[in-house]
Amino acid sequence: MAELAALSWNPVSDYEQLTEFPFMVNALQAGTIVAVMAGAIGWFMVLRRQTFAGHTLSLIAFPGAAGATLAGLPLALGYFGACGLGALVLAAVSGPGRAARSGESAAIGTVQAFGLGLGFLFVNLYSGQLASLESLLFGTFLGITTGQVATLLSIGLVALLVLAAIGRPLLFASVDAEVARAAGVPTRALGVVFLLLLGLAVAATAEITGALLVFALLVTPAATAQQITARPGPGLVLSVALALAVTWVGLTIAYFSPYPVGFWVTSLSFGLFVAVRLCRAALSRRLIAPPVGEPV
């Protein structure tokens, strides 16, 4: 491990230190793109209660990446290929309507286990450095190239544009599928498109945080934002802001400390979530004690 940079607590010189090396600039840029994507798409995922599908996609990213390594293909191709394919499979096994949703989780779990098994096989076949397994699972935040940043940027832009275009009907279909369908919203098609977007977001995030830590950016900021506000617009913005904050602060701490980025990003988002939950619990306790005689 290289010698650690020392935090001077002077913002200007710390910022200069932080951006001294191109790898760190790349990491910050890639982290920013990924955080915006994960924050926005994650918000819809949490609202639609598809975190299990998101989780499965993130685990499918692992065999994708391992398979790409084995075949000598670019890692990104493995991540995006596997997640895209996984999203289509999930869309196929998940029927429309809420009744189907309960049976869906079993089918998704099956896909998940199979994906993990495949990944294990690929890693075994590769039998190269075991270090690559660790980076597949826990990310390679600090090894991101300028080319990767450009790819991420274009993917992120496309994903956000699509999300902006379908956002409102998707919100409608997510909270009130039956009435949305009656109003002419193609709920089933939207579900498939959303799963594909989710696949993109997961693949992009997995490239950086690794397959296992995707959730720190995809779920926790979104869940925290939904604890804070029930308004859709501000909630989305807040979710993105939290994901950004967690990423930037996590990268910065990791740069100045001996512990890995993945740890800091997950701990920060976890800490935020717990803090907000506690605040809400305290607040609602105060609100719940109503004046005597008030109708409930």
Partner: protein, 224 residues
């Protein structure tokens, strides 16, 4: 009526158009859907989705767009009409069944439909809420000039407000004004079970099923 299911035979026209084509002129409230406490979206947003939730693209924020301001006003007007102003900005999952139902009626009404299609609007509400929602629907029907078509198993809470009744049972139907259709012999014949129609002291009708004679039940479980 919304064109969601294909016709098995025959033809149907809704408001002079093919089913489905008239969908924007119908406000629809499906059978009881409840939002559990995890649903973190405000009642106001639910009503707003009824107005323009099916439209693609992002809305401009209110300060910039006139149509957004008009939409907000429309939503608030509807919320006030159903008497939900006090709790419309709370997450819908945290509201009671009756409160949710009021907001959902506002959602179905917000596009000024010509027909309001209510499927079991009183289902799983307590008695006082049943009465309140029934009279709310009646009030809306008159003040907004909208035709209300509702499906109900329990006819009693709405009996006083009906103009016309259609009964379906066992593949047959009876229709007419409430006083013509709702009498003991007609309903008993239709359902093939004894049903009595009583009249209360203030002239309201009440439909009750009379208890069946104790029947011999066959044990459907295998022993062993």
């Amino acid at each position: 009526m919304l064109g969601l299911l294909p016709l098995s035979a025959g033809r149907a026209a809704v408001l002079g158009e093919k089913p489905g084509a008239a969908r924007s002129r119908i406000g629809y409230l499906p059978q009881r859907r409840s939002f559990d406490s995890g649903t973190r979206i405000r009642g106001l947003d639910m009503v707003r989705l009824g107005l323009d939730g099916a439209r693609w693209g992002l809305p401009l924020p209110g300060a910039l767009s006139r149509s957004d301001r008009l939409a907000r006003e429309r939503v608030e007007e509807m919320v006030e009409l159903v008497g939900a102003t006090g709790y419309a900005s709370r997450p819908i999952g945290s509201l009671s069944g009756g409160e949710q139902q009021r907001l959902l009626i506002a959602q179905a009404l917000v596009r000024e439909p010509e027909i309001l299609l209510l499927d079991e609007p009183l289902d799983s509400l307590d008695l006082s809420n049943q009465g309140a929602i029934a009279s709310l629907v009646q009030r809306i029907c008159e003040s907004q000039g909208v035709t209300v078509l509702l499906v109900a198993h329990d006819v009693n809470p709405i009996l006083g407000y009906l103009d016309r009744v259609v009964y379906f049972a066992a593949g047959r139907g009876v229709q007419g004004a409430p006083r013509e259709v709702i009498d003991g012999p007609t309903l008993s014949r239709l359902y093939g079970a004894p049903i009595e129609v009583l009249e209360t002291s203030d002239g309201r009708l009440v439909v009750v099923g009379t208890p069946e004679p104790p029947a011999h039940h066959h044990d459907r479980h295998d022993h062993g």
